[in-house]
C-alpha cells in the first residue's frame, strides 16, 4: 500500500516538475549564483539583468503570439535594425533639431509605424497569400537590415540625446524603464489573450486553423494583427537598444534576436505547433536565458560556451514539452 502512495507522489512530483520546469530551472540558477557568483545578491545585479533582458522579453512576447497561431517570425531582428536606424535619422535631421520635443516624439512614433507596416507585410504574406511563415518573414529578415544599412550608408550613427536615451537608461523606482515597459506590455497582452475574442481566436487558429475558419472566425485578420503586434514590439526593442547605446548600428542591432526570441518563447512553454500563448512564460524564458549568459560570463566562461549552454536549455525545454504532450 505504502508502495503505491510513494509511486503516486513520485508521479505527481514529476508532473509538477514538468508543469513548472521553467520555475524550477530559474530557482536552480539562482541557487547556483548564490553559491558561486561574487556580488550576486545586489540591487545593481538586478538592474543590469533587467536592462539586458528587457529587449529579449519584449520581442519574445510578440514571438509567442505569432507562434501561438502556428507561425514564426524571422524578421524581428531586421525590424529592430530598421526602427533603430530611423530614429536617429529623425531627431538628428534639421526638423528634429529645430523642434527637439516633436523630433523625439516623431523619432519614437514613426519607426514604430514602420515596424507595424513590416508586420502588416508579414501578415498579408502569411494570411492572404498563404506563404509559409518561415519564407514570408525571411523576406524582411534579409531585406530589412539591408534597407537599414542603405538608409545610414552602413555608418554607425552616434548621438547624445538624453530625452531619447531615457527609453534605455531611464529609471523608475530605481529599476530600468524598459523593465517596467516589458511588464506593462506583458500585462496588456495577457489580458488581450485571456479576455478578448481576438485572444481566443489566436489560440483557436493555432489549435486548429481549419476549424477556426469553418466556424466563421476572422482568421486572416487575426493573423495579420498578430504579426503587426510582433513587428511593433520588435521595433520598440530596436529603439531601446539604440537608446541604451546612444548609437545606432544597423549591421548589429537585433542580430540573432529572432533566435533568442524563439528560444525564450519555447523555454517559456510555447508550442511551435501553436495553440498556447504563455506571455509570462516568454518573460520567464528570456530571464532564464539571460541569467545563464550572466552566470557564465560573471564566472569567466567564454561567450562561445554560453551559446552551447543556450542550446542545451532549448533541448531540455523541448524534451519537457514533448513529454507533456503524451
Amino acid at each position: 500500500m505504502s508502495m503505491t502512495t510513494s509511486e503516486i507522489t513520485g508521479k505527481s512530483m514529476l508532473q509538477v516538475l514538468r508543469g513548472h520546469g521553467g520555475v524550477v530551472a530559474l530557482v536552480a540558477i539562482l541557487l547556483f549564483n548564490m553559491a558561486f557568483t561574487p556580488n550576486f545578491f545586489q540591487l545593481q545585479t538586478l538592474f543590469v539583468n533587467i536592462s539586458q533582458v528587457a529587449t529579449i522579453a519584449i520581442v519574445a512576447m510578440g514571438m509567442t503570439l505569432v507562434i501561438a497561431t502556428g507561425g514564426i517570425d524571422l524578421s524581428v531582428g531586421a525590424i529592430m535594425a530598421l526602427a533603430g536606424a530611423l530614429a536617429p535619422l529623425i531627431f538628428l535631421s534639421e526638423f528634429g533639431t529645430a523642434y527637439p520635443v516633436l523630433g523625439v516624439a516623431l523619432a519614437i512614433a514613426l519607426p514604430l509605424l514602420v515596424a507595424l507596416a513590416c508586420g502588416l507585410f508579414n501578415g498579408i504574406m502569411v494570411a492572404k497569400l498563404n506563404v509559409q511563415p518561415i519564407i514570408a518573414t525571411l523576406i524582411l529578415f534579409i531585406s530589412g537590415r539591408g534597407v537599414a544599412q542603405v538608409l545610414t550608408n552602413g555608418n554607425l550613427q552616434t548621438f547624445s540625446n538624453p530625452q531619447f536615451s531615457y527609453l534605455g537608461t531611464g529609471k523608475i523606482l530605481g529599476l530600468p524603464f524598459q523593465g517596467w515597459l516589458a511588464v506593462a506590455i506583458a500585462v496588456v497582452l495577457y489580458l488581450v489573450i485571456s479576455r478578448t475574442t481576438f485572444g481566443r481566436y489566436v489560440l483557436a487558429i493555432g489549435g486548429n486553423e481549419r476549424a477556426a475558419r469553418l466556424s466563421g472566425g476572422p482568421v486572416a485578420r487575426v493573423k495579420i494583427g498578430v504579426y503587426m503586434i510582433c513587428g511593433a514590439l520588435a521595433g520598440l526593442a530596436g529603439l531601446i537598444v539604440v537608446a541604451i547605446n546612444s548609437a545606432s548600428d544597423a549591421a548589429r542591432n537585433g542580430s540573432l534576436m529572432e533566435l533568442d526570441a524563439i528560444a525564450a518563447a519555447v523555454v517559456g512553454g510555447a508550442l511551435l505547433q501553436g495553440g498556447r500563448a504563455p506571455i509570462f512564460g516568454a518573460i520567464l524564458g528570456a530571464v532564464i536565458i539571460q541569467l545563464v549568459k550572466y552566470t557564465l560570463l560573471a564566472n569567466g566562461v567564454e561567450d562561445e560556451v554560453a551559446l552551447i549552454a543556450k542550446a542545451g536549455i532549448i533541448l531540455v525545454a523541448v524534451y519537457v514539452q514533448q513529454a507533456r504532450k503524451e
Binding site: T37, P38, N39, F40, Q42, Q44, T45, F47, V48, S51, Q52, Q149, N153, G154, N155, L156, T158, T169, V241, I244, N245, S246, A247, D249, A250, A251, R252, N253, Y294, L297, A298, N299, G300, E302, D303, E304
Partner: protein
C-alpha cells in the same frame, strides 16, 4: 593547351621587361600617369572600414587612379569573386584587405599570375602559404602587437594607484587584431607586478556587446579600476556601462583603448578616457606612395608599417576634426 601557350608567351614578353623587382618573381609595374586600380573592400559595416574605403576614393584623383572599388559585404567568397572580376577588367594594380587568412590566397595568386602587382592592406594572409615579396608585393598595415604594448606602457606610466585591477574587452574571437592586441598588452603589463587582469572576455569589437559584457564583469569584479578595450567602440560601451552603474570613468576607472575614432577622442577631451592608440584607416596616401615607389623600380620592404600615433588629453583636441 592553347591558353597555356598564350600565358607562356605573355610571360616571355614580361621577361623582356625584366627589372630589379621582377628578378624575385613579382610582376613589374610601368610608370604611367594614370593607373587602373582595384580596391576590394571586405565589408562596410563599421566606421573604420568606411573611413578606409573613403581614403582610397579620396586619394584616387590626386594619385592618378581610375579606381574600381568593390564591397564583399563580409563574405570571403564574394571577395575572391570581386578580385577575379577586377582581373578581367584589366586592372594595373590591386589593393586587397583579405578578410580571412586562408580563403583569399587563391585570389592573391591569380592576380600575380595575371601580372598584376598586389598589395595587401591592413590584414595579411597566412604566411605559410603566401609570402610578401614572392606571392605579393608587400603588406601595408599596423603592428597590432605594438599597439597593445603601447597601451600597456601608457597604462604603467600613468596609473597612480597601488593595485591595478584590469578588465580586458577582447575583439572578435580568433581575428588577428584581437589575438595580437591581447598578447601585446598582456605580455607588457605582466612586467609590472602592480597589475592583474581579473577578467578577459570578447565584446566582438561592438559597442552594444562591449557594454553588456562590461556591465556583467563590473558586477563580478567591482574593484576594477582599469578597462582595456581592443577597440574604441567597446571602450565607449564600457564607459556607458560604468556610468549606468554610478561609477566615474576617467576618475575611479581608467579606460584605455585602440583605434582613435571621433567618439573616443571626444571621451578623452571629456576626461572619461585615458588613451587611445591610433590604428589608422587612412591607407590611401600610403598606398599611392608605395605603388609609385614600386613603379620606379624600388624593392619594397615586405611589411610597410603604418606609423600610429597616440592620442591623449594633450593632443586629442588637435586631432578630433580629422577623426572619423
Amino acid at each position: 593547351m592553347k591558353r597555356r601557350n598564350i600565358l607562356l608567351s605573355a610571360t616571355m614578353i614580361g621577361l623582356g621587361f625584366a627589372s630589379a623587382a621582377f628578378a624575385d618573381g613579382l610582376p613589374p609595374l610601368a610608370q604611367k600617369d594614370t593607373y587602373r586600380v582595384g580596391f576590394a573592400q571586405m565589408e562596410s559595416n563599421n566606421p573604420w572600414r568606411i573611413a578606409e574605403s573613403k581614403s582610397f576614393v579620396d586619394t584616387a584623383e590626386s594619385c592618378g587612379w581610375e579606381l574600381i572599388a568593390t564591397d564583399a559585404a563580409g563574405s570571403a567568397a564574394k571577395q575572391v569573386a570581386d578580385v577575379e572580376s577586377m582581373i578581367a577588367q584589366g586592372i594595373d594594380v590591386l589593393f586587397l584587405p583579405p578578410r580571412e587568412e586562408k580563403p583569399l590566397i587563391p585570389a592573391v595568386k591569380r592576380a600575380q599570375a595575371a601580372g598584376i602587382p598586389t598589395f595587401l592592406v591592413d590584414r595579411s594572409v597566412d604566411p605559410n602559404a603566401a609570402v610578401a615579396g614572392v606571392d605579393f608585393v608587400a603588406f601595408l598595415g599596423s603592428d597590432f602587437i605594438k599597439q597593445g604594448q603601447q597601451v600597456a606602457e601608457w597604462t604603467i606610466a600613468n596609473f597612480k594607484g597601488e593595485k591595478g585591477v584590469i578588465v580586458e574587452l577582447e575583439g572578435t574571437t580568433g581575428s588577428s587584431p584581437a589575438n595580437d592586441r591581447r598578447s601585446g598588452f598582456d605580455d607588457a603589463i605582466a612586467a609590472d607586478p602592480r597589475f592583474e587582469i581579473v577578467a578577459s572576455q570578447t565584446g566582438d569589437f561592438a559597442r552594444d556587446m562591449g557594454r553588456q559584457v562590461m556591465e556583467t564583469l563590473l558586477q563580478a569584479h567591482p574593484d576594477v579600476n582599469i578597462v582595456y578595450a581592443h577597440n574604441d567602440e567597446m571602450a565607449i560601451g564600457a564607459i556607458q556601462a560604468l556610468e549606468l552603474a554610478g561609477r566615474k570613468p576617467g576618475e575611479d576607472v581608467m579606460i584605455v583603448s585602440i583605434d582613435g575614432t571621433r567618439d573616443a577622442l571626444q571621451a578623452i577631451i571629456d576626461g572619461k578616457m585615458g588613451v587611445t592608440v591610433e590604428s589608422s584607416p587612412f591607407f590611401g596616401p600610403l598606398a599611392c606612395e608605395t605603388m609609385k615607389r614600386y613603379a620606379a623600380g624600388e624593392t619594397i620592404e615586405p611589411w610597410v608599417q603604418v606609423s600610429d600615433r597616440i592620442f591623449t588629453v594633450e593632443n586629442a583636441a588637435d586631432h578630433i576634426d580629422e577623426a572619423y
